[in-house]
Symmetry: C2
Subunit: 413 residues, 2 copies
Amino acid sequence: MNAPDTQPAAIEWIEGGGVTTPGGFVAGGAYAQIKTYGEDPRMDVGLLAATGPCTVAGVFTRNAVTGEPVTWDRRVLAASRPMRGLVCNSGNANTVTGDQGTRDCARMAEIAAEVLGVSSEEILVASTGVIGRQMPMDRLERGIRAIALSPAGGALFTRAIMTTDTREKSCAVRVEAAGRTYHVGGCAKGSGMIHPDMGTMFAFMTTDAPAERAWLDATLRAVTDRTFNMVDVDMDTSTSDTALLFASGAAGGDPLSAAHPAAAALTAAIEAVATRLARAIAGDGEGATALLEVVAEGAATPEDARAAARTITSSPLIKTMITGRDPNWGRVMMAAGRSGASFDQRAASVWIGDHCVLDHGQPTGVDLRLVSAAMAGEEVRLRVHLGAGPATATAWGCNMTSEYVSINADYTT
Amino acid sequence: MNAPDTQPAAIEWIEGGGVTTPGGFVAGGAYAQIKTYGEDPRMDVGLLAATGPCTVAGVFTRNAVTGEPVTWDRRVLAASRPMRGLVCNSGNANTVTGDQGTRDCARMAEIAAEVLGVSSEEILVASTGVIGRQMPMDRLERGIRAIALSPAGGALFTRAIMTTDTREKSCAVRVEAAGRTYHVGGCAKGSGMIHPDMGTMFAFMTTDAPAERAWLDATLRAVTDRTFNMVDVDMDTSTSDTALLFASGAAGGDPLSAAHPAAAALTAAIEAVATRLARAIAGDGEGATALLEVVAEGAATPEDARAAARTITSSPLIKTMITGRDPNWGRVMMAAGRSGASFDQRAASVWIGDHCVLDHGQPTGVDLRLVSAAMAGEEVRLRVHLGAGPATATAWGCNMTSEYVSINADYTT
């Protein structure tokens, strides 16, 4: 992954960094044969462990149907006790699996707890894969017990949660604040437009900062709303989407809270990691060849700005227009118009790349061949100004190619 | 178009019927060279005229960005005066065209009014096609003036509004009620998944019943909510979607109102025509090979039922699963879960065709090869019971094939 161009000065990217870059974490992955693609075995179980008690915040899918692990995680996090680890698998989502699924999820936490010598109530669980199939518990257990944990194991853990992601998604930063050095690391797997049965987004982040639970919760929620929740790869919301942020405290000092002098710097570091993971997820959609960044400005409210940016990003007609390098800016207005954002079409302006194609409701007559040429890169930027207020939001997505449909249609259970 | 299997007894389908089947209407179409596909000229201007003053109800797109004709029609209909005709073109939507577009739309009504010898305030306008291009007014005017109107011209009018529709969509019924014979006819062009620049849905219906404007408005709105508004071909809402219902009164008798003894029969006849047109639009999506019918039952409220049915119908993962004949019913739960409908996943059941795959939250273990075989037809039916109440809704859509993406991506302005 390439670093974005601009970062706040205090934040430094760490080459090859990930979830075990911050102190206090070990991780690993193994093969449980839950997920196989032809002859090629894939790593499909992973374990991330804190070497001591750890504060954890979680944000989960808004889908009314949720996987068993989401139900489990919400329950154990509600108790606000320190946590010790996270066990993951890919290949089976343990979702809509009835009473058997509930028992299997609890057993999965128990196996990880036995391996780590802790209580199962201190273990979080994340599963992604097919919905409606029972988990192969024997293979799962053998796999988890085969994991070797190490401070260098973040890369293996990242591979274990991948499904049809074409690139590993992990990164880490160092930030100096209030006289101390902190680290934030993270890894993710793609959401939507990925394999149809594995459309889940996982984003797991770690920091060695100590943190109060309330601050960690609020920070993760705010950062998620500006990053992971602004990724629209397709419009389907997985039943298992999970973002977790673990704070080990290995960096020492007072726990982070809103009043802590390092709070703003840590928030910026967490947002930098989350933004990079979100952009990586958007750019790695199944069949995608371009990252799409959509900026909605001039909205009456932040909610309107978010709605306009997300609706444009997720529109099939926008996504296919990027593939065809077709500067068909009417579609941008169509999508903004159906987003629910309030605005007057006679006050709106639209840019493709740096080209203004609509200026306060009047077509500019710019040479569309130039605009088409500006759509040829690996990253395409659309901007709309609604002329209705001061609010701005950015969303990320990708183009749609025939390969998306082939992959999703040619699959048979 | 084939007639649906069951109809209320009093409603009789008329072979080859359309908008000029009811008395009091003439229509026609012509070539204005607004729309050309290679060497092949297509009919692209149409005129539907009432032979006398006519009551008209309209329902329009909910998109905040609207074409100039939508703005025009809303204004002239607000005056509640009798109307005399409808002028249409395909190939150019006259949308986001600035002040020039406003003038051109008024001029288009004026030309039609001159042809019919009426006032332009008695003329409705509908345009579908590219967004953001100025209308070629000279060609448009020559085209409109070349139209020959006749009582047999409904078929030409239907062709003039087609864009990449593969089939003409028109039908008509006869209904006997309260001692009198009434007719209802209609034609439509496809919505979404049609050519990217021509994703508009038009549905124009006529009846020879006389009608009070308030009853006609309420009836069209209610019928549209159960028919055209339940078609989800893709999730993009056109800026020009228009449904109009013209009542000429040629059948004689008292004007229809809620208290009229024929009101229920006429409503049923209008809904029969609208349902048939809605199903035809759904089944003729670009690249589609199957009609998808989704029934959501057991919802807490009618709004929940509608949301669940529509969300399942429009999900890309559902649409591609139909193409692959993949009985991946977890996606049905995923889509219902993100629809906003409230329900408990442990109370929900799912059917694919006649096969129950999830029973009160427990997978049934039915042989998925049998289920896959049931997905092979030209019409696939999905049913979900939310276990949350008494409400039911039906939505229609189509599968998604690679051809959809090719058509939408390979196009360049």
